[in-house]
Symmetry: C2
Subunit: 564 residues, 2 copies
């Protein structure tokens, strides 16, 4: 049993504002946008999703007032935590109760495994009142099990039928929502009434497309990381003696790093997508950092802050090739992993594998420190891939930059002192008290999910749009999950998956960043946003992410707003 | 030039509340407490401080209104950042201007080196308005240079005389305030009018005694670390798959760790002072963690959070002995350091030194991972000691606990999964936006410093007491720096220094902690205090540290309050 802090108690009493249109909740009906996306989708998607292929984008508009039947809806958290999850549930709960007070919400425990093992609890008003507007997924827990095998699909069917569910909310990222699409199709094929609805969750910000402006949790995570980075920047400028190499969570995409850079203005920021586009090598990156350090040393500045996205390492083409070779070599079907495990000494493990690599990959592998080499040989993620998060890029870069600076010192081209601190922020931003933005966004997403189930719509993702407008003017609708699908290799097989969104190098947020960043190298234009505030002026408490503001504030991309 | 965030702009406009008595600022006069502490002090202190030995504890009381002459006062930041430093300066500035608008404040740049090198700037109202209530020491920078040699003392004398300083504020920790005491004595001996006043600064909380209830910066740092720990606890409980080993800054003393444990309730917390008192070994500590993990695994809980104070490692008696032996062996006067540096291979370095150690220290050294062994052989701090902060205790414990769990798994006494994440928080808490408590405490400390200089009092530390009462009832006074002195070994010599305060195992905060902690092992009574709030209800924004509340709320220790 958690103990609530005084601030948590205050947040429990917070009432999220709602889009104006949701005040007419009981009268809302879907309005479909006539369009045909079948031709745009890959053939395997069209073939695999024959039951849901014709779904159309929709928005909700006011219709006639009518009475609604009671609904039973299940929810599950899938994957890493993101702030706002509890508000998706409270939004769903409040909307369902408004539609019909006999409606019920069930939570599956500890992620999709709870569906497969049929472990659930009813979420009552009494329980929920202790979780409203709070961070974490601890009301019902989360997990990373995937519903993939025929047995698991069958077990899921049994579970939702056992609870007579009208709907199942899958609160997850790209993979979990891919799963949701398959479940929706499967349930329809089995004549099961349970509508599957996806909710866009991930702090990484990579679940984003023309219908989804941002995933929930991104705002709170970026604000929390920016608070810390801002504080480190101030510290750096006060003591003037350290270079902080800060790695930020976010798997492949660099959305978090871009947002935090825009909020805090560190001296140097890497965006993985740009590294890939410019075909930069590890040596190039080390040179870029070293050049900056030398330039600053000339100005007697032996301090600074460098932001590194978690996914940087795999965006470097030569490293990408190396990782692909390792992924193939270390596949469970081959003997190499066992051979490595059988060797107790680190140097023997490395020696064994290095001979199996291509010549360029051997060179790249040799550049790495032994720690990193071992990290690359260690355990895989559930997709069978190298665990990028375990690679301590921040320490690798410090080691390589130190060597490079020592070289330059010998040739007299560097005269400063280099003292570096590696930092990594990730877990710190996943379960914080949700910002007002995430609290309100999630509360609205939950309402929309209730409307989708009520309208018997399945295979949709709940959408709230026009997020750069005041909450009251937000639009609500839904987009078919399959519309987001593309083909990707997973465990060596091409599979339909919801596409991860990478940082758009042609987009406005990146344009603003690349316009500003040159000044940040030598001048210390550091900005410290401070901790998230929940009370006081709304322009302080209800700020939206800068990337969202820059991207949407002028023109609205796809708008469900009733005011537009 | 910094860019102010919207929250920083709002904080610039914040008006710290002041103790009621400071409203009569221009009428305040010192009232000395008659006491003789000469007999209680070590003889070298009495001998070294012949000019300042008779100073008495004092408090300020209302006297007659009179006019005051203009004063010139210098300030310097010494050592690590702590939130509130800028408010000491703004408190000093505002009080001086109130006493006489012709008064001036000068800031020495980048720490005590700025005094030695006579680098300073005048701090005007125009400059100061951009730093009020903001974190960091970036207005004038900080540094760790010590004023120690006769030349340095002479240079300092020249600097303060050059600026015609009536006072010099040294904002620092135990070492810097020791320095302040020597400077006060030296200035008096040289017939220099400059009064030296110390300000108790350190996030570590170890500058604390019967006159100093808490050092500034401790509150903001602990609240910031507790925000992060609280968020990690929620994350831990949501995903249920990691053990987080969190190391917290704070050098030797475990005040920060104790405060954060009281605020957040992690499953296991080590207090260095207790480890030392109970003569625990590294093996004992590893066993204690392993026992807890096994107990929790029986309840199917394969997750948890463990707090580790930065100084833990040196509190373990066997490690302490090892470190002392290493400190002696690696002294610059001996050839061993060079011998080690000359060996490129890590294993050769270790082999060389291990033979020089005592048998128990050889055993202890062999327990450590190679990384930690190398960290112990690396660079010293300015006092010539092993750099405890560089020892990655959190990673060492994870490695040792993993081994121990693997052993227990073999014997069937452990059936869980162990996945651990090392975390270290320190730099993140030093330069944050100061809490209201630190903002107000520092603003008052600055006022008191102005009063001390105005009363021509030197060798004192500014004191604000009764901090568990509402700000209006806080007491103000000062305590002679030499009263805090004891003898300690520095670089092999016994020297008078201001005593570091360790966690009092007989005190009320520790008693409450040790009463509660058993429950925290198995039950997850996690508490998430969330980010510091600056707006809204005062019982949220103006909370004081829990250790301070527990220690002082019932009886006031030494009180200068005009209401008591």
């Amino acid at each position: 049993m958690r103990i609530h802090s005084s601030l948590q108690k205050r947040r429990l009493a917070y009432l999220p504002r709602l889009p104006e249109i949701l005040r007419s909740l009981t009268r809302l009906v879907p309005l479909f946008e006539a369009e045909n996306h079948e031709n745009e989708l890959p053939l395997p998607v069209v073939q695999l999703f024959s039951k849901t292929i014709d779904q159309q984008l929709l928005r909700f508009v006011e219709g006639e007032n009518k009475t609604h039947r009671p609904l039973n809806v299940g929810v599950v958290f899938s994957g890493g935590q993101a702030s706002g999850g509890h508000n998706v549930i409270s939004g769903l709960f409040d909307a369902l109760k408004l539609l019909n007070p006999e409606s019920k919400v069930f939570g599956f425990l500890n992620g999709p495994a709870g569906i497969i093992n049929n472990q659930s609890m009813e979420i009552t008003a009494e329980i929920l009142k202790n979780f409203r507007n709070l961070g974490g997924f601890d009301l019902i827990g989360s997990g990373r099990t995937k519903i993939e095998s025929p047995d698991q699909f069958q077990a899921a069917l049994k579970a939702v039928q056992g609870l007579h569910l009208d709907g199942l909310l899958i609160i997850g990222g790209d993979d979990s929502n891919t799963n949701a699409a398959f479940l929706a199709e499967y349930f329809l094929a089995k004549g099961c009434k349970t509508c599957v609805v996806g909710i866009p969750k991930t702090i990484d910000g990579d679940l984003k497309n023309e219908s989804i402006e941002v995933s929930f949790g991104f705002d709170t995570a970026c604000k929390t990381f920016s608070q810390t980075i801002g504080s480190i920047l101030t510290d750096c400028l006060s003591a003037k003696k350290y270079y902080f190499f800060i790695k930020l969570m976010g798997r492949s995409a660099s959305h978090i790093t871009l947002e935090c850079a825009l909020q805090t203005h560190p001296n140097l920021t890497f965006i993985g997508e740009e590294i890939a586009a410019q075909q930069k090598t590890l040596k190039d990156i080390v040179r870029q950092i070293t050049d900056m350090i030398c330039l600053r040393a000339e100005k007697k500045k032996n301090y600074g802050v460098i932001l590194i996205p978690e996914g940087l390492i795999e965006f470097i083409p030569e490293v990408k090739t190396l990782i692909q070779e390792l992924n193939t070599l270390l596949a469970s079907s081959l003997p190499h992993l066992k051979e490595i495990e059988a060797r107790p000494k680190a140097s023997d493990k490395i020696e064994y594998i290095i001979k199996k690599l291509s010549i360029p990959s051997q060179e790249c592998f040799s550049l790495l420190t032994q720690d990193i080499q071992l990290q690359l040989l260690m355990g895989r993620d559930p997709h069978g891939n190298v665990q990028v998060a375990k690679i301590e890029t921040e320490r690798l870069l410090i080691a390589l930059v130190s060597q490079a600076l020592a070289q330059r010192k010998k040739t007299g081209t560097y005269v400063g002192n280099f003292s570096a601190q590696p930092l990594f922020y990730g877990y710190e931003g996943r379960s914080c008290l949700p910002s007002n933005f995430d609290s309100q966004y999630c509360y609205a997403l939950g309402h929309v999910a209730a409307l989708l189930v009520n309208a018997k719509l399945t295979g949709y993702m709940s959408c709230v749009t026009d997020l750069s407008l005041p909450v009251e003017q937000w639009g609500i609708g839904a987009t078919p999950l399959i519309k987001m699908m593309g083909m990707e290799e997973r465990n060596g097989e091409l599979k339909p998956v919801i596409q991860k969104s990478l940082v758009n190098l042609q987009g406005k947020p990146f344009a603003i960043f690349s316009q500003e960043r040159d000044k940040w190298i030598l001048e210390d234009l550091y900005c410290d946003p401070g901790p998230i505030q929940f009370f006081g002026a709304r322009d302080e408490t209800d700020q939206i992410p800068l990337t969202l503001e820059y991207e949407y504030s002028r023109h609205t991309h796809l708008s469900f707003s009733h005011t537009s």
